[in-house]
């Protein structure tokens, strides 16, 4: 049977209507592309404001001059620009993008709007890994304590996603079981961290508490490069999978009957999520709600064609973190509040709103 035989013979009116609908569709695509570009522009502006704010009072003009010609800066200014402002701002941007992209993918593959690296225990597992490294540091010359914390956090975060992965492959384990398992993981990890805090000395306790408050102040150029590399590697794969992920949103059965290998799609997506979430959390600690709220805001803007939703989520996440980074410098004059606290302040009301909205739908 020839494929073209399916098409009905188009009358003039039909052809005109087809052209109109085609135009409408293309306009919709254009509007979404422009929205994504608009988000990128807003992010650039936000990063500039973030770069120009800080307790030292160095303005944007001086900073830009210094970026192009470092020799005009005094040593202190050079340290502020290259060791504080730039790495902090860029880390906020990259962490926001990584967590929100991971959240967007998680929400699709688990078919749950409340899924995110934070709500499913990835952040808690990282906190547990970091806490263990802080409480029981290894005495190895080649393995510095700060590196141990990052490595342990990464291994535990990655392990938690692999556990979720293993759960998803169990026969009969639905997406709801996965979410419940994630919640159990949050409580389990938090309980062990609390136990470590209870048993810790005063010094160790201070470090433990500080680590759990996510902060971009741990940024350095090595971590930045690594996170940028992870994002650069993962994003193209996310975009490549996006048409199949859109179909998965229409229902697992339909996606499978349309020829999508859903198990493979989920496996690959969980691998991407593992890399993104584990790297981001290991470098900056627990950053709440960006991975949850970022995709939701992006969805309100560009809808659920994942080809647009994934980049939009990454941009919204980066924007939220960048704005939180600015706020963290302005809340208490002269003090940089850990950005994790700011994102939680913004995220909690949005999270509650989402829960109630979902409740109404059920």
């Amino acid at each position: 049977m020839s494929v073209s035989s399916y098409c009905l013979a188009s009358a003039d009116g039909t052809a005109a209507e087809s052209a109109t609908l085609g135009l409408q569709y293309r306009r919709q695509i254009l509007r979404r592309t422009l929205l994504v570009l608009g988000l990128a522009v807003m992010l650039c502006l936000s990063v500039l404001i973030d770069l120009s704010s800080g307790p030292s009072g160095m303005g944007l003009a001086r900073l830009v001059e210094g970026l192009f010609d470092p020799s005009i800066l005094q040593l202190t200014e050079r340290v502020i620009v290259w060791n504080v402002r730039l790495p902090y701002s860029l880390m906020a941007l990259l962490v926001g993008a990584a967590l929100a992209l991971a959240g967007a993918e998680m929400q699709v593959i688990l078919d749950n709007p409340l899924a995110s690296p934070f709500t499913l225990g990835v952040s808690s597992a990282a906190a547990l890994g970091a806490s263990l490294a802080i409480a029981f540091p290894l005495t190895l010359a080649w393995f510095a304590p700060s590196l141990q914390i990052t490595v342990f956090a990464f291994v535990f975060a990655f392990g938690s996603v692999l556990l979720l992965q293993a759960m998803s492959r169990l026969r009969g384990a639905g997406t709801e079981s996965l979410v419940l398992f994630g919640i159990a993981l949050v409580f389990g990890c938090n309980a062990v961290v609390s136990l470590l805090q209870l048993l810790a000395t005063e010094d160790v306790l201070q470090q433990l508490v500080f680590w759990t408050m996510g902060s971009v102040a741990r940024a350095d150029w090595n971590k930045l490069s690594l996170l940028a590399l992870v994002l650069a590697v993962v994003m193209p794969f996310s975009l490549r999978a996006s048409p199949r992920m859109t179909l998965l949103r229409l229902g697992e059965d339909r996606a499978r009957s349309f020829g999508v290998d859903v198990r493979r799609l989920r496996f690959a997506s969980l691998m991407r999520i593992s890399l993104l979430a584990a790297t981001a959390v290991a470098f900056v600690g627990t950053i709440g709600f960006v991975g949850l709220v970022g995709p939701h805001i992006a969805r309100l803007l560009v809808g659920e064609d994942q080809r647009f939703l994934f980049p939009a989520s990454a941009l919204v996440g980066a924007l939220l973190m960048s704005l939180s980074s600015i706020a963290s410098k302005l809340i208490l004059p002269g003090v940089i509040v850990p950005v994790g606290i700011v994102t939680a302040f913004v995220g909690v009301p949005v999270f509650v709103m989402l829960v109630f909205k979902r409740g109404k739908q059920l």
């Binding site: 049977m1 494929v3 035989s5 399916y6 098409c7 009905l8 039909t14 209507e17 087809s18 609908l21 085609g22 409408q24 569709y25 293309r26 919709q28 078919d111 048409p243 199949r244 859109t246 179909l247 949103r249 229409l250 229902g251 059965d253 339909r254 499978r256 009957s257 349309f258 020829g259 999508v260 290998d261 969805r299 309100l300 809808g303 659920e304 064609d305 739908q361």
Partner: protein, 258 residues
């Protein structure tokens, strides 16, 4: 041999067998077959298994070629399946959702123009071009069912497997959808296997009825041969009359449960 053949199908969930050695008669191209039976008979399970969504033992043949060793992607080129339960809508326009269903078709339309044109014809066929730019999460259950059908049609399959495609539709759209499916099957020489609860709808639109009870095939043939008071009493547990209306369509009139 042109058409769909299902041989010796058995499906089990653990130790519980839900389909027992079911072999469907050859479903020829250009024909509509309705799968009927009481609740829990295994109709949806059988349909899902033919679509490749359930593990089974047995064989499926299309036009003399076996589909057993084909991957889900290869099988999806020939078969499309519409589930009974459609998830609540998402923030995707109707047109986008149909185009999305086309983008993953191997060997399907390559350019955006072709996708859009193919999607438009599917919407037109189902009669929902006026919904093209509406978001799925703003549609009623019935409208979403029509969109799901348009997604299937847009993919230009050889076999349509539809699980209760009219369950959320009003009387007008029930007839319209069944007419649309039957016309498409005739025009393009497709095979349609449709699970239906409404026996009158099945009698009116299907060329053949296949009756399942507790996972076993109990009857198959033309509606006029199958729909008898004795079969209805035996399979459904009802006392019923089968009469032809003034238009000549068979009507099952249920008098009481036995």
């Amino acid at each position: 041999m042109n058409g769909l053949v299902v041989e010796n199908f058995s499906i089990a969930y653990g130790k519980r067998r839900v389909i027992h050695e079911v072999s469907l008669p050859e479903l020829p191209r250009g024909s509509v077959t309705a799968l009927i039976g009481p609740n829990g008979a295994g109709k949806s399970t059988l349909l899902r298994a033919i679509a490749g969504l359930e593990r089974f033992t047995g064989s499926v043949w299309l036009d003399g070629r076996t589909l057993d060793k084909q991957s889900a992607t290869e099988r999806a080129k020939h078969m499309t399946y519409m589930p009974q339960q459609l998830p609540p809508g998402i923030a995707l326009s109707v047109m986008e959702s149909v185009v999305a269903a086309l983008r993953v078709v191997e060997g399907g339309p390559r350019s955006s123009e072709d996708c859009i044109e193919q999607a438009y014809h599917a919407l037109e066929r189902v009669g929902i071009t006026d919904l093209a730019d509406r978001l799925l999460n703003r549609l009623s259950g019935g409208q979403r069912q029509l969109v799901a059908l348009a997604q299937l049609i847009a993919r230009r399959p050889d076999v349509l497997l539809l699980d209760e495609p009219t369950s959320a539709l009003d009387l007008h759209y029930q007839l319209k959808v069944m007419d649309c499916v039957r016309d498409m099957v005739r025009e393009h020489n497709l095979v349609a296997l449709i699970v239906l609860h409404d026996i009158n709808l099945a009698a009116r639109h299907a060329d053949r009825l296949v009756v399942l009870r507790q996972g076993v095939l109990v009857a198959d043939g033309a509606p006029a041969h199958i729909l008898k008071p004795a079969m209805l009493a035996d399979v459904y547990g009802v006392q019923a009359r089968v009469e032809a209306c003034s238009m000549g369509h068979l009507q099952v009139q249920v008098d009481r449960a036995i």
